[in-house]
């Protein structure tokens, strides 16, 4: 069966520090991968998605970036965190079949201080 791993579960980082969040999927190949951020009262905001290795689409311009170095690995990064980057970050995957549902990881709670 397919599983998705996301880490760390919580993270406290100072303003200006770098960020690296990792997500891996097991049990499937060539998944579509997604990074969402969820802030209180704002719902799920799509940040990046990828339909294949090295293919990244950005939905929101900001100081975050994403990379997909391997088929089932998706990384969210920042060179310098801002206070406004605080939130709950969720990685998700779906297969490429039309209208297939998203499968989410358990998220990373990021607090930038």
């Amino acid at each position: 069966s397919q599983t998705i791993h996301q880490w760390p579960a919580t993270l406290v980082q100072p303003v200006g520090s770098p960020l690296s969040l990792e997500c891996t999927v097991e049990g499937t190949s060539n998944p579509n991968l997604y990074w969402y951020r969820q802030a209180a009262g704002r719902g799920l905001q799509l940040l990046f998605y990828s339909v294949g290795i090295g293919q990244i689409s950005s939905e929101v311009p900001q100081n975050l970036s994403a990379s997909r170095p391997q088929d089932r690995q998706f990384i969210l990064s920042s060179k310098k965190l801002l206070l406004s980057d605080s939130g709950f970050y969720l990685c998700a995957w779906r297969d490429g079949i039309y209208n297939s549902p998203l499968h989410f990881g358990n998220g990373t709670r990021l607090t930038v201080t």
């Binding site: 996301q6 997604y34 549902p101």
Partner: protein
């Protein structure tokens, strides 16, 4: 821009009653809508999908409707239980474009 709106931020109901959550969409016509459940501190979990040409879909105590005239989906939980307390998210899209999510409705079922 494409929008999914869940007009109730929170809903409280008595155990045993039917909970009805509303999802409206504007500025586009999603080919299908999906409903997810999210517990505090966890990622959303997929519950049901309904296509635009389907009027209704059921799964155990859950029922979803899709009204393209009203541009609305209703999500019902019958015989609600305290364990059904969670935030429920509506999402939609067309084709293989990324899902657009609503902000969710936090349901509390009171024993």
């Amino acid at each position: 821009s494409q929008k999914i709106e869940q007009n109730s931020e929170a809903l409280n109901i008595q155990e045993g009653k039917t909970a009805t959550l509303t999802c409206n969409y504007t500025n586009y016509s999603p080919a299908y809508l999906q409903w997810y459940r999210q517990d505090p501190g966890r990622g959303p979990v997929f519950l049901l999908l309904i296509r635009e040409n389907e009027k209704e879909k059921r799964k155990e105590r859950l029922k979803v409707t899709f009204d393209t005239t009203l541009k609305q989906s209703l999500f019902h939980i019958t015989a609600s239980q305290p364990a059904d307390s969670a935030t429920y998210l509506c999402a939609g899209n067309s084709g293989n474009t990324p899902l657009v999510f609503g902000k969710g409705t936090r349901l509390s079922v009171i024993a």
